[in-house]
Symmetry: D2
C-alpha cells in the first residue's frame, strides 16, 4: 500500500519532535518533509539524535519552509509553530488543497475579538476561523472527518475539556464556579533558551504562573460555553512542576440537583466507554502522569465529596502526546479514514 | 551562657533529621539526647552521615527511649514519632515537668470524637487534648508562651491556615466553599520503605491521593472554625510531586461584599507585616518552593480575579522546616523566651 | 499469520514491565501468559496501570507460576526473576521443549566455581551452564539462532562488552588495565521497597556502590577473556544517579602499538556498521542516555587522547531495554527466525 | 565588634548567590556591596527571592561595578565573574590595597603559556600570576594567610586535588596514569540561558562532555605536578548529571611498591585528620553528594582492589560550596585571621 505523504513545518521543538516520533512509525503515513529555518540542511538525526538510527533519517533533511513547494510534496501538513506564526503558513497550503493540522492556538477560537483580547493583537487571518475545526476527537469527531483546517487543542484545554464537557452536556454540573488547577511538566513551556526553564531553576521547584488570566482560558471557555449552551467563565491556575512530560488537572465542580454517582458514571460511560484514548479509572485508582507518559491516553477519575457536596474530577495526560502531537495524529487518522489508533499504540 | 538541654524522641525520620540540623546550630539550645529504638547505640553521624563532621556527633549516641531518664536529662523534648505513638511518650514527660513539643497529629485536635472519626481509633490520651496548645506561632503566639504541651502543626495545615485565617477573621472571605489544592514533596510521606515512594515511582510522576477525605482535614477545619467563629468544612486535595522538600498550596476563596484589594492587603499587613517567617510577595512575584527550601519562611501571594470574582491565594513553604521542624523550634523559642528567630536564619 | 505464544515468569518488576510493553506490540509474538506469585489473580492493567487500556489487558490475568502448565501454553518463556530463583524454573521448561530466555545472572557464566565465588553459594543447576548461550546478539548471534537456553546479559555487561570486544578482538587495546566507570539509573536496582532507593534518598544524590568487587564483574570478565583469548581482569565502578532509565559507561583503555584512529574506526565499522542497535557516533557527538531511552539502541563514541596516549570509549543505553528486556526480545527474534528488529523500533 | 566589610563583584550567578548566602550569616564579615551590570538598581531580594526576608536585603541594592568606589567601601572583594573578565577588575582593586578572592580561573595558573594553550587567548594580566596564591586551604594554608590575591579553585580541581595530593606527596601512588572520572550537577554550568541546560534536556539524561581536553586540566595538572615534584598529566572525564548541586569524582590510581592500606590511611590521617572540611569515611561508607550538599565538606573514601592492584579513591562535595563559594569564604577566614570555620557550619 502506498502511504500518504505528510510534512511538519517547524519541527525543531518538543511537539515537533514528538510528531516525528509518531509519524516515523505510522502504518499509513510517511513523513516526507520536515522544515525549520534554524536547522535547514541538517538531517533528522543531527537535529534529534534519538532518531539517528532510523532508516529514514539520512534522507529526511530539514529544509527552509516553502509553502508552495511543500504543497506539491505532501497531502497533510502539521504546523508546529509558535502562536501567531502559523496563520501565515496555513493560507497558501489551504489554497493548494493541502490538509492542515495546526498545533498552535491560531485557529482554535471562533471569535476574533476574543483572540485579540487574550493574545494582544488582531487575528492575522480572521476569515479562516470560521473554516477551522477544533480538533478534539472525543468531542468533534464528525467535523474532523471532513475538515480542511484542524486546530488541534493543546495540553491544558484537553486536560480540562475531556473531563468537563460530558458533565455539562448531561446537566450534571453547573456551568458556573468551575475551577481547574493544573500541573504541567516543563516541556509544556517549549524548547526555549530562557533562565526560567533551566534545570537548576525547575528542579526542586514548584510554582504557579499566569494567574489569573492565562491565554488558553479563551479556547477552554469557548468550548465549554458551546457544550453548556451558555457563556462559561472558569478559574484556571497552571503550575510548573519538575517533570519532563505530563499534565495533571484537578477540577472542582458544583453538582446540579440531578447529579449523583450513578449519573456521573453513566455520563462518562456513554461519552467515553468506547473511546480508545480515554481511560476511566475505577475503584481506588487515581490518575498518575507516569501511567500515560508517551501514550495518547487521558486518565480520568472522580470523587463526589459527601462532606462538601462538591464533585472533584482529576485527569492525567502526556502534554506532548494527547496534549499535542498524539492528538494531532489522531485527528489525521480520522480525517484520512484510517483506524483512529493507527500509529498511536 | 548555659544552653538549655533538649532532646528528640524518634529522631530517625526526615523531620527528626531536620530537627537535628536546626538544633545543632541553635544559639540557646543544646541537643543533649536523641532516641530511636531502631538506631540505639549508633552515633549521630552513623545515622545521618551529613552530621558526621559536627563536633558533637561522636558524643551524641542514639539511645532507646526512656521517658523517665529523658526527663532528668533535658528540659524540652521534641516528639518526632508516628501518629498514635506520641501520646504514650508525652504523659510521663509532662508529669516530670518537661516541656513537650509534639510533631505528630496526636494533640492537635480539641475534640476527641473528631480524632476518632478521622484516625479510626479512640484518642489514646483524651485528657491531654484540653491542655495542648496548637503550635502555629503566627496565630497562637501568646498561648505558646506558657504552654506545657505544644502540638506543632504539620505541612499541609500550615500552608492553608496561615493564608486563610487572617481573611476569615477580617470577614473578607466566606467560611463556605473554601478549596485547598496542595502539592507536596516526597519527604512529606516520611522515611518509609514502601514501593509508592521509590525514586522510579515518583520521578516523572504527579498524582493526587487521599481524595476526598485526608486526615489532616480535621485539624485544618477545627482551626478555621475557630477563626471564623462558625463550623468550616473545606475541600482539600493533596498531590505528590517529585521534589524532596516543599509544599505549594493554591487556595480558592469566595470574597465577601466588603472584600477588595486594599482590604486584603491591609489584613495581611496587619497579620504578618512584622512576622519574620511570613513573606508577603508583591508585584508580579508568585510563591516558589525553591525560594523557601531549608528556611522557616512561608511565601504568600494573592490575586483577585475580576473575571470570576474569586480570590486565589498561593503559599509556598518547606514541608520539613516551616511545615514541621522549623516551626517546632520557633515554638520552642517562644516558649523559652528566646528571640523567635534564634537558630532559624 | 498465527503469532507464536510467549510467557513471562515474574513479570512484576521493572524489566518484567518492559517485557510486557515490548511483547504487547510485537508483530510475531503474542503475550499469552504472565506469572507472579504476588499478583496472581490480577489483570495486567491492575498490576501495570499504563497497560490497562490495551485490548489484551482484561484477558491477561496473572497466575501463580506452574512450569508444567506454562510449557503447554507457550513456546517461549522469559524469566524475569531474581538471581538464584531462575534456575529452578528453567529446568522443567527446558525438559518440556520450551525455549527459555533468562534475564537473571543464573546462566551467564560457564564456570560454576566463578559463580560460587561471586554469588556466595553453589550454582543451583551447574549442568545447564554448558547448554546456555550468552545472549549478546552483536557478539553471539549465530549461537543464539539455535539456543534452547539463552542467558540474556544485563545492563552493565552490555554497556561494557559491546564497546570493548571488537577492540580486543582486533588487538587494538591491551587486555590489561581496563577500567569501566558506569552510571546507572535507579530502575537498575529493581522494584524493591528499600530505604536506599526512596525518591528522597536518590534525588539530588550521586554515589558509587559495590566497590571494588561487583557481582557482574564475573560475567564481564568471562566474556572479555573469551574475546581476548587470555584471562582479563578489569576495574569496574558502578554509581547510582537520579534518573529512571539509562546507563552511561566510560571506559579507559590502553592502546596497543598498532592502534590508531583509523584502525579503531575500521574495527567498529566492521563490527557494528550494519548492526541495527549499535549507533556509532561521529563528529563531536557524545553518548547521552536521553537519546536512547525506551529504545534498544546503544550509543558509542570514542576519543584517542594524544596527551595521555589513552583511549576513552563511552556508551549509553537504556538499562531496561538494550540492558535487559529489549535485548531479550532481540534474542527471541533471532531464535525464532524473525526480523531482528521486530517489535523493537 | 565591628565586622569587616566585604563585597561581591558579579553576584548574579549561582556561585554569587551562594556567596551571598554564606556572607549574610557570617559572624565577622558584613556583606556591604553587591555588583552586577545586569541587575544594577535592584535589591538583593529582587534578584534572589530567597533572601528577600533577610533584614539586610532592602539596603543591599545592586550597583554597577566601579572598582575605585568599591575599594573605598570594602576590605575584601570576591570576584564571581566569567573567566577572562576577572583580571580587569582585580588590578585596580589590588592597587587600592583591597584583598581580592577570585573565583574564576584567571589567576590559578603560574604559567601564562599554559593559560593561552587551554583558554585560547593570551593572559590578560600575566604579571599578577606570580602574586596570586592558589586558594586550596588544605594544601596552601600558610600562603593564603598573607595573600593579597587568592585564586580560589573550582569544583573539579578541588574534588581531584584534595584526594590525590597527599598520596603523591607520600609517594604512595605513581604520578603517571592518573584517571579522574567526575560527575557534576547542572549548577556547575552556570546560570546561562542555553538549550543544553534546560530542565527537559538535563532531566533523565547523563552525558560526558569536554572529552578529552577540558580547560580545568591545566590547573589540576599544575597543582599535581607541584605536589609530585615532576610533570603530571592526567586523564579527566567530566559528566553532567541531573542534580542541582554536587560533584562526585572517582579516581583510579596506581600504587607504588611502598603503598598499602595502613600507609594510605596514615597519609590521609596526617593530611586531613584535623581538617574541619575533609571527612574521611570509614567502614563501608562511600561518598554521596546528598551528605555534603550546602556544606563546605568534602567526603573521601578509598579502596585498594586486590584483584587489579589499583587504588580507587572517591570524593563528594557541593560544587557551589566547597567547590566554589564556601572555599572562597574559608580562604577569607584564613586571610583575615578568623576561625577557619566561621560562617561555614
Amino acid at each position: 500500500m502506498n502511504k500518504k505523504k505528510v510534512g511538519i513545518v517547524g519541527a525543531s521543538g518538543y511537539s515537533g519532535e514528538e510528531l516525528v516520533r509518531l509519524l516515523l512509525n505510522h502504518p499509513y503515513a510517511e513523513l516526507a518533509a520536515v522544515t525549520s529555518r534554524q536547522h535547514a540542511g541538517q538531517t533528522l538525526g543531527q537535529v534529534f539524535p534519538r532518531f539517528a538510527s532510523h532508516p529514514r533519517s539520512p534522507q529526511l533533511r530539514f529544509v527552509d519552509s516553502n509553502a508552495a513547494l511543500l504543497a506539491k510534496q505532501v497531502d497533510v501538513v502539521f504546523l508546529a509553530l509558535p502562536h501567531g506564526v502559523a496563520a501565515e503558513y496555513a493560507l497558501p497550503l489551504l489554497d493548494a488543497g493541502t490538509t492542515v493540522i495546526d498545533l498552535s492556538a491560531d485557529f482554535r477560537l471562533k471569535n476574533a475579538a476574543v483572540y485579540e483580547e487574550f493574545y494582544g493583537n488582531p487575528h492575522p487571518a480572521p476569515e479562516l476561523l470560521a473554516k477551522s475545526v477544533y480538533g478534539l476527537p472525543e468531542i468533534h469527531r464528525s467535523s474532523i472527518q471532513s475538515a480542511r483546517l484542524i486546530a488541534s487543542p493543546g495540553c491544558y484545554p484537553t486536560s480540562i475539556l475531556v473531563p468537563v464537557i460530558p458533565l455539562l452536556k448531561a446537566g450534571l454540573v453547573k456551568p458556573t464556579g468551575i475551577i481547574a488547577d493544573s500541573l504541567s511538566g516543563v516541556s509544556g513551556a517549549g524548547r526555549k533558551a530562557e533562565l526560567d526553564y533551566l534545570f537548576v531553576e525547575c528542579n526542586e521547584s514548584v510554582r504557579p504562573y499566569g494567574v489569573p488570566k492565562h491565554r488558553h482560558l479563551s479556547e477552554i471557555e469557548e468550548q465549554l460555553s458551546l457544550a453548556a449552551g451558555q457563556p462559561v467563565v472558569i478559574q484556571f491556575t497552571p503550575h510548573l512542576i519538575p517533570i519532563n512530560r505530563g499534565i495533571l488537572t484537578t477540577l472542582y465542580l458544583a453538582p446540579t440537583p440531578q447529579c449523583n454517582a450513578e449519573a456521573i458514571q453513566e455520563a462518562y460511560r456513554l461519552a467515553y466507554g468506547n473511546e480508545p484514548f480515554v481511560r476511566l479509572l475505577s475503584g481506588k485508582s487515581l490518575p498518575d502522569t507516569k501511567n500515560v507518559s508517551s501514550t495518547n491516553i487521558l486518565e480520568l477519575a472522580w470523587r463526589l465529596d459527601p462532606r462538601t457536596g462538591r464533585l472533584v474530577v482529576m485527569s492525567a495526560e502526556d502534554n506532548l502526546t494527547k496534549g499535542a502531537s498524539g492528538q494531532a495524529v489522531q485527528s489525521m487518522n480520522i480525517r484520512c479514514g484510517w483506524p483512529e489508533t493507527a500509529g498511536l499504540v
